[in-house]
C-alpha cells in the first residue's frame, strides 16, 4: 500500500509538472497580454507597455518564462496579474466565494441524488422509476447557461412579483395537490387500494396546507410556530428512527423522542434569548453541541447496542436544531425583504451579497441564501442527475448479489436488508465519485459563476483567459490540478479500503 501511494505520488508530480508546462505554453499562445495597451491610445503608451513587459517578464520567451514562474511558485508566490494585483490575494478571495457557492450545491446534490436514486432503484420499472430516469436524462442534457437564464426569469423576476402578493390561485393548488398525491402514491407503492388511499390523503393534505399558506399570506412573513414545530420534531424523531434502526428498537424510539421533546422545551429560550446576538462561531458551536448532546443521550439510553441509537439521536438532534434555526431565520424574513436595499425583491439574480445591507447575523444569512439560491439550483440540476443514475445503478447491482438473497432468506426485515446490507455496499463505488467531485469543488463552476456574477475560481480563470493574463490562469490551474490529482489518489485508496476485493500495490 505504502509503495503504491509513493509511486502514484511521484508519477502525479511528474504529471503535474508536464501539465503546467503545457498549460503555460498554451496560455501564452492564446494571446498577447499587451493587446489592450497596444490598441489603446494612452499618451504614455510606450512606458505602459514597457512597465508591463517588465512586470510579467514578457521579454523572456515562454518556455523559459515558465521556469521563472515555477521558481516563484516554489517560493509560494503566484505572481501578479496584468493590473499588478497579487494573484495570491485574488486566489484567496476566489476560493472563498467558490467554496461558499459550490459546497452547498454539491452537498445538496449528493443527498438528494442518492435518496432519489435509491428510491428509484427500489421501485425499479415503476412509474416513479421511469419518471426519475427521464428527468435525469433531461437534466443531463440541459445546457446550464440556458437553464440559468430561465431561472433568472422565472425563479427570480416572476418569483419576486409573486412574493409581493403571495396568494396561490385555486387551479395551481389543485394541480400541485394532484402531483403531490401521484408522487406519494408512486413512492409508497403497494396494492391499488393502498395506492388510492395514499393518493387521497396526500392530495387532500397538500391542498389544505397550500390553501392555509395562501389565505394567511404565509410567504410574506413566514414562521413555523411552536405547535407546528412540535409536530415536525416528533415526526422527525419517528421518521429518522424508522429508517435508521426501525421502530421495533424501543430504546431508539424513546431516545429520539426525548431529544425531540428537549428541542421543543428549548424552543422559546432559543428563539427569544440564546439565538439573539449571534456570531458565526457561536452558531457553529451550537450546531456541534446539538449533535454531541443528542448523540450522548442516545449513547446513554442505547445499551447494549449503543452505536445505532446514538447515530439516530444525533441525526434527530441536528434536524430539530436546524428547524429552530430555520424559524429564527424566518422571523427576520419580512424585515429583510422590506429593507431599503432589497425593496421587496428578495431573490437576487447576480452577485454574492446585497451591497451595503448591514444587519445582524440572521439578516446577513438570509441575504447569502437568497443570493445562493439560483446558482445552487443550476448546479444541483446537473450533478443531481448523475448522482441519481449512479446510486440507482449501484444499488441495483448490489440488490442482485447473493448476499442480499441470503439476508432475505434468513428472515431479516426489508428495512434491515436495504439499509444494512444493500445501501452500505452500494455506497462503496459512489464514495469514489464523491471524492472526485469534492476535489472538483474548488475548480468552481465556470459557466454558473459567469452567468450569476460570482467572482469565484471559474471567473478568475475565464477573466484571466480573455485578458490573456497568464498568472491568474496558471494559479487556477495549479490549484485545481493539484486537488484533482490528490483526490484521485484518495478515491483509489478509499475504494481499496472499503472494498476488500480490490487490490492495490
Amino acid at each position: 500500500m505504502a509503495s503504491f501511494i509513493i509511486r502514484r505520488l511521484i508519477a502525479s508530480i511528474f504529471v503535474l509538472f508536464a501539465a503546467t508546462f503545457l498549460m503555460y505554453i498554451l496560455t501564452s499562445l492564446s494571446g498577447d497580454p499587451l493587446e489592450d495597451l497596444r490598441q489603446g491610445n494612452a499618451p504614455n503608451k510606450a512606458e505602459l507597455i514597457e512597465a508591463r513587459t517588465e512586470l510579467l517578464n514578457l521579454d523572456v520567451p515562454p518556455p523559459l518564462r515558465y521556469f521563472l514562474w515555477l521558481a516563484g511558485l516554489f517560493r509560494g508566490d503566484f505572481g501578479v496579474s496584468i493590473q499588478n494585483q497579487s494573484v495570491n490575494a485574488l486566489l484567496g478571495n476566489a476560493i472563498t466565494a467558490t467554496l461558499t457557492l459550490v459546497t452547498t450545491a454539491t452537498v445538496v446534490a449528493i443527498v438528494l441524488g442518492l435518496t432519489v436514486g435509491i428510491v428509484s432503484a427500489l421501485r425499479q420499472y415503476t412509474g416513479f422509476d421511469y419518471s426519475v430516469t427521464l428527468l435525469a436524462f433531461l437534466f443531463f442534457s440541459l445546457p446550464i447557461f440556458w437553464v440559468a437564464v430561465l431561472l433568472k426569469q422565472y425563479g427570480a423576476i416572476q418569483m419576486n412579483n409573486w412574493l409581493a402578493d403571495p396568494t396561490i390561485s385555486i387551479p395551481v393548488i389543485i394541480g400541485v395537490s394532484l402531483v403531490a398525491g401521484l408522487l406519494w402514491m408512486s413512492l409508497l407503492g403497494g396494492r391499488w387500494r393502498r395506492r388510492l388511499i395514499v393518493f387521497g390523503i396526500a392530495a387532500v393534505a397538500t391542498g389544505a396546507v397550500l390553501t392555509y399558506l395562501s389565505v394567511t399570506q404565509w410567504f410574506s412573513d413566514p414562521t413555523i410556530g411552536i405547535v407546528i414545530f412540535a409536530g415536525l420534531a416528533l415526526g422527525i424523531a419517528f421518521g429518522v428512527t424508522a429508517i435508521s434502526t426501525g421502530l421495533r428498537n424501543r430504546r431508539a424510539v424513546y431516545a429520539s423522542l426525548i431529544v425531540a421533546l428537549l428541542g421543543v422545551a428549548l424552543y422559546f429560550p432559543m428563539m427569544n434569548y440564546i439565538l439573539n446576538g449571534m456570531t458565526l462561531w457561536f452558531f457553529l458551536l451550537l450546531a456541534v453541541l446539538s449533535v454531541v448532546v443528542s448523540g450522548a443521550i442516545g449513547w446513554f439510553m442505547g445499551a447494549p447496542d449503543r452505536a445505532p441509537v446514538a447515530r439516530t439521536t444525533a441525526i434527530v438532534g441536528f434536524l430539530v436544531a436546524a428547524l429552530i434555526a430555520l424559524d429564527k431565520y424566518m422571523s427576520y424574513w419580512q424585515a429583510y425583504a422590506n429593507s431599503s436595499r432589497v425593496r421587496g425583491r428578495p431573490i437576487a439574480t447576480v452577485g454574492a451579497s446585497t451591497p451595503g445591507l448591514g444587519g445582524n447575523f440572521w439578516v446577513q444569512g438570509i441575504d447569502l441564501y437568497t443570493h445562493l439560491l439560483l446558482p445552487t439550483i443550476a448546479i444541483i440540476l446537473i450533478s443531481f442527475a448523475s448522482y441519481t443514475r449512479y446510486s440507482r445503478a449501484s444499488l441495483l447491482e448490489v440488490m442482485n448479489q447473493d448476499y442480499i438473497r441470503t439476508a432475505r432468506a434468513k428472515g431479516l426485515t426489508q428495512r434491515t436488508v436495504i439499509v444494512r446490507h444493500a445501501f452500505r455496499n452500494a455506497l462503496i463505488p459512489i464514495t469514489t465519485i464523491i471524492a472526485f467531485d469534492v476535489g472538483a469543488i474548488v475548480g468552481g463552476a465556470v459557466i454558473t459563476e459567469t452567468v450569476f456574477g460570482w467572482t469565484g475560481m471559474g471567473r478568475l480563470f475565464i477573466d484571466g483567459l480573455s485578458a490573456h493574463d497568464p498568472n491568474p490562469v496558471m494559479a487556477f490551474f495549479v490549484v485545481t490540478g493539484t486537488l484533482a490529482v490528490v483526490f484521485n489518489l484518495i478515491a483509489d485508496i478509499v475504494y481499496a479500503g472499503l472494498d476488500p476485493r480490490i487490490k492495490v500495490g
Binding site: L138, S141, W146, F436, S466
Partner: protein, 393 residues
C-alpha cells in the same frame, strides 16, 4: 416412494425449463442480431433514434449546406445570413391550433433574420461538431487504450500518464488558443479539437477492457496458433469490447454537443459570422423578456439532440450489457409466495469460467494480478466519460 423420487425431478425440470426460456430468446441468433433485438425493445432509444434522424434531416435539408464555399441551397425560403423585412415585430407564426407554419415559424430577431433558418444552421454546426468530435475521440481513445491495455508494463504507464496530463488541461484553454491562432473557428476544426482532447475516458475504459480480455483463453489460443499482436488486438479483442466502445462513443457525443454550446456561449467556440446553438443563446440572452422565442428554440434543439443521443446510448448499453437484470419486485415475490407449488429457483446462468473479476457498478474490475484497477465507474451519463467534457466540473 414414487412421489419422493418425482418431486425433486419435477423441480429440476421446471428449472431447466426456466433456463431454456431465457436461452430460447437468443437461440440461433448472431451476437449482432441479439444486440439489435434488445436495442429495438428499448422504446426510449427507438423513439430517440427517429427524433434524432428527423432533426438531422430537417437541419441539413432546410437551409442547405455551406461547406468551404460549396453551397447547396435547401428548401426553406430564407437563409441564415439573409435579412428579410420584419413582419408583425418578428412574432413567431408557428401555431398548433389551427396548424399554421407561416413565413417565420420561429419568429425573427431584431434586425429581421429568420430564426428558423438561424436555428437550423446552428443545429447543423452543433451536429457536425458532435459527430466529428465523437469520431476523432473514439479513434484516438480506442488506439491508445488498446495499446496500453494490450502491451501493459512501460507502454501502459507512459500512455496512461500522458492521458492524465491531457485530462488536466481545460478545453476552454484549447479553444482560446485556437481562436487566437486561427481567428474564426469552423465547426469542423472545433470538432477535431474537442475530439483531440476528449478521448481520455474512452482510452481508460478500453484499457480496462483489454486488461481483462487479454487474459482469456481465446486470446491464448490465438497466440498459440501464431497470430501476431496486431491480429489479436483487432480481430480478437477489439470486437469483444465493442459494447463499451459504442456506448461510450454515444455518451461522448452527447457531452460534445453540450461542450460545444458551452464553449460558444463563453465566446471560445464557433465565431461570427457563422453561428451555433450556443452562440445564438449567448447573443440573445438579454432579449429574453422582449423576444423569448430567440431564446427558447436553440435551447430546445440542444436539449432534444443531447437527450436523444443520451437515450440511444442508454439503449445501446442495455443491448450490449444485459447484466442489470430486473430485480424481482416485492409484489412479485409476495405473489410467488402466495402461489401454490414450489417456487422456481432463479438459476445463475453465467459462465463459471470467467476470469477473476468482480463487477463494480456494472463495470468489471479486474482483480487478478492487476496493479491498479481502472476507473470503477459505470458507463452512465454524467459519469467520468462526460466529465472531461463537462466544463462545469
Amino acid at each position: 416412494m414414487n412421489t419422493t423420487v418425482t418431486q425433486p425431478d419435477s423441480r429440476e425440470n421446471e428449472a431447466v425449463a426456466e433456463i431454456s426460456i431465457e436461452q430460447k430468446e437468443t437461440e440461433g441468433l448472431s451476437q449482432g442480431q441479439i444486440v439489435r433485438r434488445r436495442f429495438f425493445r428499448h422504446r426510449g432509444a427507438l423513439i430517440s433514434m427517429f427524433v434524432l434522424a428527423f432533426i438531422v434531416i430537417l437541419a441539413f435539408t432546410s437551409v442547405g449546406v455551406d461547406l468551404w464555399g460549396l453551397r447547396i441551397p435547401g428548401w426553406w425560403q430564407y437563409s441564415w445570413d439573409e435579412i428579410p423585412p420584419k413582419v408583425n415585430n418578428g412574432v413567431p407564426t408557428l401555431s398548433l391550433i389551427p396548424p399554421v407554419i407561416g413565413d417565420h415559424p420561429f419568429g425573427q430577431d431584431e434586425v429581421g433574420r429568420d430564426i428558423f433558418a438561424v436555428v437550423m444552421r446552428g443545429a447543423q454546426q452543433s451536429i457536425m461538431v458532435m459527430v466529428i468530435a465523437g469520431v476523432v475521440a473514439t479513434v484516438i481513445g480506442v488506439v491508445i487504450g488498446a495499446v496500453a491495455g494490450y502491451y501493459r508494463k512501460a507502454t501502459d504507464s507512459i500512455l496512461m500518464r500522458f492521458t492524465d496530463i491531457i485530462i488536466t488541461i481545460p478545453l476552454i484553454v484549447i479553444g482560446a488558443v485556437l481562436g487566437n491562432t486561427f481567428g474564426s473557428l469552423g465547426a469542423a476544426v472545433l470538432g477535431i479539437v474537442i475530439g483531440l482532447f476528449a478521448w481520455t475516458t474512452m482510452a481508460r475504459l478500453v484499457r480496462g477492457e483489454f486488461l481483462s480480455l487479454r487474459e482469456r483463453e481465446f486470446v491464448d489460443a490465438a497466440r498459440v496458433s501464431g497470430a501476431r499482436d496486431r491480429r489479436i488486438i483487432f480481430r480478437h479483442i477489439l470486437p469483444n469490447s465493442i459494447g463499451v466502445i459504442v456506448v461510450n462513443a454515444t455518451l461522448l457525443m452527447a457531452g460534445a454537443i453540450l461542450l460545444e454550446s458551452a464553449l460558444s456561449f463563453l465566446g471560445f467556440g464557433v465565431q461570427s459570422p457563422d453561428t451555433s446553438l450556443g452562440k445564438i443563446i449567448s447573443e440573445n440572452q438579454a432579449a429574453f423578456s422582449t423576444r423569448p422565442w430567440i431564446f427558447w428554440w436553440p435551447g430546445v434543439f440542444i436539449i432534444a439532440i443531447a437527450l436523444c443521443v443520451n437515450f440511444i446510448g442508454d439503449g445501446l448499453r442495455d443491448a450490449f450489457d444485459p447484466r442489470q437484470k430486473k430485480m424481482p419486485s416485492e409484489r412479485a415475490m409476495r405473489r410467488a409466495g402466495r402461489a401454490s407449488g414450489p417456487v422456481v429457483p432463479i438459476l445463475d446462468t453465467t459462465d463459471p469460467k470467467e476470469p477473476q473479476s468482480v463487477t463494480v457498478a456494472m463495470e468489471s474490475v479486474y482483480t487478478g494480478d492487476v496493479v491498479n484497477y481502472h476507473d470503477p465507474r459505470p458507463e452512465e451519463p454524467g459519469d467520468v466519460q462526460n466529465e472531461p467534457l463537462n466544463p462545469e466540473r
